[in-house]
């Protein structure tokens, strides 16, 4: 079933009628998400190696400093650092540096774990440092096609440009997708 939807632009007291479109249920559902951020996205930004990355803040559950007791998971690749106890939850930690094959120092006093919530799974990501929470307008975001970054582009959704810097948008849903995790087991069983 199609719905007729009026498109209205609203700022402060002024409303401007832009026209109307026909949308299906699904589209409408998608819209409702987009509408709420239609002007842009709030990002949490962090440093990894030489570059600045961004992550939709709605995916972030919390930030914690590096936990003391991390337990390694046997036969898992290096970048799965281990699991730790976050107030009763057992949460795996992925080292993004290692995941992206970056060299250099591993951990220092600013190292932080970002706990993200992707499809109801809580996963920790180690980053060099968390820098800011910023707001990026939609028109300032760009998809990946013509990018040259250190990271395998399949984990990158795009870039966001701000006044003075460029932020790489991580495709966290893909990075932590079931397919990616399942490949961990296949890799290890081949060994």
């Amino acid at each position: 079933m199609k719905h007729k939807v009026k498109v209205v632009m609203e700022d402060n007291q002024n409303k401007k009628y832009l026209g109307s479109v026909d949308l299906s249920d699904e589209e409408l559902e998608d819209m409702s998400l987009d509408i709420s951020y239609s002007e842009g996205t709030r990002l949490i930004t962090f440093i990894l190696g030489e570059e600045k990355y961004g992550l939709n803040i709605l995916k972030v559950r919390e930030l914690i400093s590096f936990p003391e007791g991390l337990t390694r998971i046997p036969r898992m690749p290096d970048f799965i650092v281990g699991m730790f106890n976050l107030r009763g939850l057992v949460i795996p930690v992925m080292d993004l540096r290692k995941k992206f094959n970056m060299t250099g120092e591993e951990r220092h006093e600013f190292s932080v774990i970002i706990i993200v919530d992707v499809e109801n799974k809580n996963i920790g990501l180690t980053v060099d440092a968390v820098s800011d929470v910023i707001f990026v307008k939609d028109e300032d975001m760009q998809d990946t096609s013509e990018l040259a970054v250190n990271v395998d582009t399949k984990f990158i959704k795009g870039v966001a440009k701000t006044k003075d810097e460029m932020i790489i948008l991580l495709d966290i849903d893909y990075l932590l997708s079931k397919e990616e995790f399942d490949s961990l087991i296949e890799n290890t069983s081949k060994e």
Partner: protein
């Protein structure tokens, strides 16, 4: 579905449907049991009413049709036949379809609905022709009137929101009906009736070799018996003759058996020296019956009792308690206060049956609340967290003790006190999650019935120990394997009637489901009295399929174990319910996923028995903490046989087969955990480290570890919740120091 009323309705109907299903299945066996029809009718009516409330008019309509049918059954116009049972069961499928629609959206299975309604119409037409009016007695007329009036009410009822009022009317008319209805086949089972008994025996009775206890025991077999002893003539202890009977009793017997049965028991005691009488409790005291003859009481006692009653009871109370209260004698010489409490209690006990029933149903509704499993899970997580913090506190207090004796001691004392509450809390939360396995065992009735009607085999299902409690998650996940096993029994086990007669067996096959609790485990046994499994057939089959060689020598146990191999089947034919060779393998995996074990034993021509052993809960296990290198792992204690440090002579190396450890003459393969898990250990040799012998099913395995760290209950956390299932690891737990420890998956280590 975000309408909470609708959600609640769906949940409620789901429960009702289960009750309905069970009721219908029982009704099929006892088609003339009035109370069953009433129960089914009520269930149907509640669905209809509820559906009306939440504006699911189609569903209400649907229920209405079947309610009409049941109403006819209640009036005795229709007797429940197997066809009617099938019809009612089909309606249940219809309801399920409606529920699916409400829950998930989409459409109802209109074909199913139409078909059942069509069948219903047909059935009603046919039934109308064949059944004659039931035999008339003078009270039946009255019953008819009430009934037809009520039917009209239902028919004219436009399912509005005034269901409550209607329901009240309904119960009212039901009540009158119950009292006047006589056409029910109440030969042995019927409405429960309370009888008051007066049992006064010859004081010389014991010397004659008889004993009142014999009578009392027999009476208790008829129903619920409440006895009140009267101490009237009890002498002082020094004057007491133990061979004489000094007591007499009033009793209330609530039974569904006919009065003759009571009569039959009492008749042996009825002679001129014994006063043994009974009468229905409801008869008014003015009746020229037993009561007014003072049989229930000595007249002077009665007077006294009445006086005292006036003294001690408030008006309202004495009004409320009616006549039976008078009939019970309390000790005349007991104190006032005692008497009051005693008589109040008794009067409650002896008020007419119906009131008691009402009371129990009332209290049931107020005593339970519906809680989502999600919320319980959250609670359980929190409790698990508290348990972990508790052990951390324990560690902390020990550390403080080292610095400050006194302070540490105080803290430790507190921590230990707290531990008791935490333990209790944990037990309680586990208890809350327990549900009786009966719910899923009873579901099998329908499976068996449907199969039996289709296959022409005669099968009876016996259920035992349905009240055994098991964690809800375990119970739910048990359903699949159970259906599988029952189907296997029906399909491969039970023979058709002819074969059974030929073999000198009861033409009706029996499948029994037994649940019981044994040492922290729940045992569920599925047993049939069918043709059994021939070990030779399995052996040959296994050879054919290349699982084993013809020359292999296997014990019977090992042979049966092969039934669980993937792809193993002995049947050549594939039916729609079993025989594809995936069954037993899946069952085994399902049971193992529940941390349980499965065993099959069989006797040719006697039957097959499958035994499932399940842990009470999945949330907590007893664990043995071992370390390898700097990492601590947990092994479920259930799988650990023993642990030892072998001497060099015990270690044997065999080419291509690895290492074996000889333990009391038995050679058990050894696995070095550090190699398997790729960890750098403290000890590389078994003679330095420790060997833990684990067992899964019948296979034993030695695991080389560095040492044992600890032992105790651990809260299991799922790896999948936030990550993925890692091979060799069945879960994680949090240790006392807050670190994560992985629980080894013994099954995968052994295989």
């Amino acid at each position: 579905m975000d309408n909470p009323a609708l959600e609640e309705f769906v949940e409620e109907v789901e429960e009702i449907i289960e009750d309905l299903e069970e009721g219908v299945l029982q009704l099929e066996e006892q088609p003339k049991k009035r109370s069953l029809i009433d129960r089914i009718f009520r269930a149907m009516h509640t669905i209809k009413g509820g559906a009306g409330m939440v504006m699911e008019t189609e569903l209400a309509d649907y229920a209405h049709h079947f309610e009409n049918l049941l109403d006819k059954a209640r009036n005795g116009e229709i007797v429940c036949t197997p066809e009617m049972a099938s019809l009612l069961l089909a309606s249940i499928d219809g309801f399920r379809s409606f529920l699916d629609k409400i829950r998930e959206g989409g459409d109802v299975d209109q074909k199913l609905i139409d078909k059942t309604l069509e069948q219903l119409r047909e059935f009603e037409n046919n039934a109308g022709k064949t059944t004659s009016k039931p035999p008339a007695e003078k009270t039946v007329e009255k019953a008819k009137q009430t009934d037809s009036k009520q039917t009209e009410e239902i028919k004219n009822d436009e399912i509005k929101l005034e269901q409550v009022a209607e329901e009240e009317q309904e119960t009212e008319s039901e009540k009158t009906e119950e009292q006047v209805d006589v056409q029910w086949d109440d030969e042995d089972e019927g409405e429960e009736i309370a009888y008051l008994l007066h049992l006064k025996f010859d004081s010389e009775m014991l010397r004659k070799g008889s004993d009142p206890i014999l009578l009392i025991k027999e009476l208790t077999e008829l129903g619920d018996l409440a006895m009140i002893p009267h101490l009237g003539s009890l002498p002082d202890l020094k004057n007491l003759d133990p061979e004489e009977i000094h007591l007499w009793w009033s009793a209330k017997l609530v039974t569904s058996r006919p009065a003759e049965e009571i009569e039959n028991i009492l008749v042996f005691f009825q002679d001129d020296k014994n006063e043994v009488k009974f009468e229905p409790a409801e008869s008014p005291p003015e009746d020229p019956g037993l009561a007014s003859h003072g049989i229930y009481d000595e007249p002077e006692e009665k007077e006294q009792e009445q006086k005292e009653g006036e003294k001690t009871k408030s008006e309202s109370e004495s009004k409320e308690v009616e006549e039976p209260e008078k009939e019970i004698t309390t000790e005349p010489d007991s104190s006032d206060a005692e008497q009051q409490s005693l008589s109040v209690q008794q009067s409650q006990e002896l008020t007419p049956v119906k009131d008691t029933k009402k009371k129990t149903t009332e209290s049931k509704t107020t005593q339970s609340i519906r809680v989502t499993v999600e919320r319980l899970d959250k609670l359980q997580n929190l409790v698990g967290e508290t348990v972990i913090n508790q052990s951390r506190l324990h560690l902390l207090s020990e550390q403080i003790m080292k610095v400050d004796d006194k302070l540490g001691e105080m803290l430790l004392q507190f921590v230990e006190d707290n531990e008791k509450s935490v333990q209790e809390l944990q037990d309680q939360i586990l208890q809350v999650r327990m549900i009786p396995v009966g719910s899923i065992l009873n579901n099998m009735k329908r499976t068996v019935r449907d199969y039996a009607t289709r296959s022409k085999k005669k099968i009876k299902l016996e259920i035992e120990g349905g009240d055994t409690e098991l964690d809800k998650t375990v119970t739910e996940q048990l359903q699949g394997p159970l259906v599988h096993l029952v189907r296997n029994s029906m399909d491969h086990g039970i023979e058709d009637s002819e074969t059974r007669i030929k073999n000198g067996k009861d033409p009706t096959g029996t499948i029994s489901l037994k649940a019981s609790q044994q040492e922290g485990y729940v045992i569920v046994e599925i047993e049939d009295d069918g043709k059994g499994i021939d070990p030779k057939v399995i052996f040959d089959s296994a050879v054919r399929k290349g699982f084993i060689n013809e020359t292999d020598e296997l014990t019977e146990d090992e042979i049966y174990k092969m039934l669980f191999l993937p792809g193993f089947t002995t049947t050549t034919e594939v039916t729609d319910v079993s025989g594809r060779g995936v069954g037993m393998d899946t069952v085994r995996r399902d049971i193992e996923a529940l941390l349980g074990t499965i065993e099959i034993s069989s006797k040719l021509n006697k039957g097959t028995s499958t035994k499932l052993k399940l842990p009470l809960t999945l949330a907590i296990i007893e664990g043995m903490m071992i370390d390898v290198g700097n990492q601590v792992f947990t092994i479920p204690l259930l799988s650990v046989n023993e642990s030892l440090r072998p001497v060099p002579e015990q270690i044997k190396k065999i080419k291509n087969k690895g290492e074996l450890v000889e333990i009391r003459g038995e050679y058990i393969p050894m696995m070095r955990l550090h190699e398997r898990l790729n960890i750098k250990p403290k000890f590389k040799e078994p003679t330095e480290g420790l060997v833990v012998v684990v067992q899964h099913a019948n296979r034993k395995q030695c695991i080389l570890v560095d040492g044992i760290v600890d032992q105790g209950p651990v809260v299991i956390k799922s790896m999948e919740e936030n990550f993925i299932q890692v091979p060799g690891i069945s879960g994680a737990t949090i240790l006392g120091d807050g670190r994560v420890s992985f629980i080894l998956d013994v099954a995968s280590l052994v295989n």
